[in-house]
Symmetry: C2
Subunit: 211 residues, 2 copies
């Protein structure tokens, strides 16, 4: 197997944290995102949505979408389980993973990709070109602020998104929040549960190894 | 267990098709979406993103987000498997399920929820109010057109999104496309693979029972 990667950006970071938690590693090929290598026909044949990361299996099958790669790896290397150990945990992990991605990650992407510093015509990941919509910058900022407060409420008296169990939902949330901070937002000081969680999770070796 | 439901709208429809494929049924409580019952504090305590469907487990745990409920049910009732039977299928199902949701479903939601016929301040699902952004209507239409062509290419020589295997990815795609058609778009006549797939999948008993 080999991994098409680009270190430091949020989706590859999610996968690399997951790999570190599992103790897995694969040969890596760097994709030159800043020069648009992901948009070439050759790369699109491996990743229909022109995104990294991509895991190429030994039979040539290419898996893209971070959760798809992680689900494959969870099936092949079940321990430690990061998508839940019981049906109830499996449901809760998927629920919070989805909520963090939709309400958090996509909001940061809107803020970032519609702003003045990003490439024109690249407002959405994928093979197609969409112009920026400047209103999405301010809406993205509002959504992130609401996201901070909502997950702060959820984390009251919890160590992780699913109480007692570090999971993919925490990885997605951490990558989202660090992306939001990098994009110029700040965790509000009144969000004490979230600040505690962020500090605790950031100390994990898997996360310190993938800053 | 009991299910908070609202028949006919796209996310509950995805779950109801999934239940029919599994041969499962649960007592149902209808949530009055048109009068905003999903936005009440009582319902929000069951569904943090104020969306249906919700599955309430016997221990009181509430699962929201369609994929979270389906993942829970797949863990408890593994057969027939709808998220993949092998690691490779598991990866491919998640990949196409994600791509169809992000590039298709969310594009239709943008088209629909930012248009003149939808409630003001309800441009996004969730507890918070966001105003419509009219540019998202036209961008939604462009994205759906690209989505139709992209999945038409993917479906060349395939019976389902994952060749030889009907899965959750087909359910998400079908609910997305019917939502897109209901929202005023048309599958382009040159998208023959997609039209064939749509006709084939629409004949399944699970889908005919949940129009």
């Amino acid at each position: 197997m080999k991994l098409y990667d680009y270190p430091g950006v949020p989706n590859p970071r999610r996968l690399n944290i997951f790999l570190a938690e599992k103790g897995l590693d694969f040969p890596r090929i760097q994709v030159d995102l800043m020069n648009g290598e992901q948009l070439t026909e050759d790369f699109r044949s491996k990743s229909p949505n022109c995104d990294v990361p991509v895991l190429e299996l030994d039979d040539g099958t290419c898996l893209s979408q971070t959760n798809a790669i992680c689900r494959y790896l969870e099936a092949v290397y079940p321990q430690p389980a990061l998508y839940g150990r019981t049906p109830r945990e499996i449901g809760l992990v998927e629920m919070w993973n989805n909520i963090c991605f939709t309400n958090g990650f996509q909001a940061v992407a809107d803020l970032f990709r519609n702003g003045p510093d990003w490439f024109e015509g690249r407002a959405l990941i994928g093979p197609h070109h969409y112009n920026k919509i400047p209103e999405l910058v301010e809406r993205g900022r509002q959504r992130i602020n609401n996201f901070y407060h909502d997950i702060n409420n959820h984390l009251r008296d919890k160590d992780y998104f699913v109480q007692g169990y570090f999971s993919v939902a925490d990885i997605t949330a951490l990558a989202t929040i660090d992306f939001a901070i990098w994009s110029g937002t700040t965790i509000p000081p009144e969000c004490k549960n979230l600040l505690d969680w962020h500090q605790r999770v950031s100390q994990r070796p898997s996360i310190k190894a993938n800053p």
